[in-house]
Symmetry: C2
Subunit: 149 residues, 2 copies
């Protein structure tokens, strides 16, 4: 197995293509990681969540880490990005970002699959408690592995 570093552009390209990431946040010395669905545009990963531990923790400490990977024909690629949580509250002044988040996320039929739903039947009604947010991507690094043939 040969491991190479991915360029900045290759990292952003993988983040742009992927829909599922693992999002890590932390509270005190305890890290926490969950799968999230997202859509990338203009240096930000847009997503949404139900109220809960992840949201509470990111509101208190906006520093996050996002990990995205894919299997390739001959191995795998993985990108780790550090970033910063930014809530997109339902208030005047954030309509444009919320609409953008909704537009990006709704392009995919299965956008609601992982991470966003609590363990009860839910519908994403107009007055649902879902919170839109985005993650400013600050630093990226990536590794690609391919079989040594």
């Amino acid at each position: 197995m040969i491991i190479t570093r991915m360029s900045h552009n290759e990292c952003i390209d993988l983040i742009s293509k992927a829909r599922i990431a693992r999002l890590a946040c932390s509270s005190g010395d305890q890290p926490y990681v969950v799968p999230v669905y997202y859509s990338y545009a203009d240096g930000h990963a847009y997503s949404f969540t139900m109220p809960g531990q992840k949201l509470n923790w990111m509101r208190r400490n906006p520093r996050v880490c996002l990990q995205v990977d894919e299997a390739t024909d001959s191995g795998w690629r993985s990108v780790v990005a550090t970033g910063r949580f930014e809530e997109l509250p339902d208030r005047i002044g954030h309509k444009r970002e919320r609409d953008r988040a909704w537009q990006l996320l709704s392009q995919h039929a299965n956008w609601w699959e992982p991470g966003a739903l609590r363990p009860e039947p839910q519908t994403l009604a107009d007055h649902s408690p879902h919170v839109f947010y985005r993650l400013l991507i600050e630093e990226v690094s990536g590794r690609a592995a391919r079989k040594d043939t």
Copy 2:
């Protein structure tokens, strides 16, 4: 999509079956998450790593979070576990745990694939700088999603 909570046993069962997890650690207020290969036995996830950021951070702050998921016929299952890093140093007194880690990890042909290698060609020779460790699994929670048919 119907989301249900997984029982403790279901969570441990999924952790036992899986080989790839996402491991989050943190330093100060910065979380970090990477894919790792592991093997589970007796309440611990056994793994190894090259020296680097993940190892440095876990040595300073042993609190970690492990996330494992799988696609199912009708949806997905995801488990999050909090735990504690324990290094298995190459010293008298740890031979049994190191041998166990090696035995568990070497049962799979592709155990070296993700996370363990730095971006240079490497071989796992007797005197390689790989560090064996295990994660004591403390608390688990899981969610299963299936299509609402």
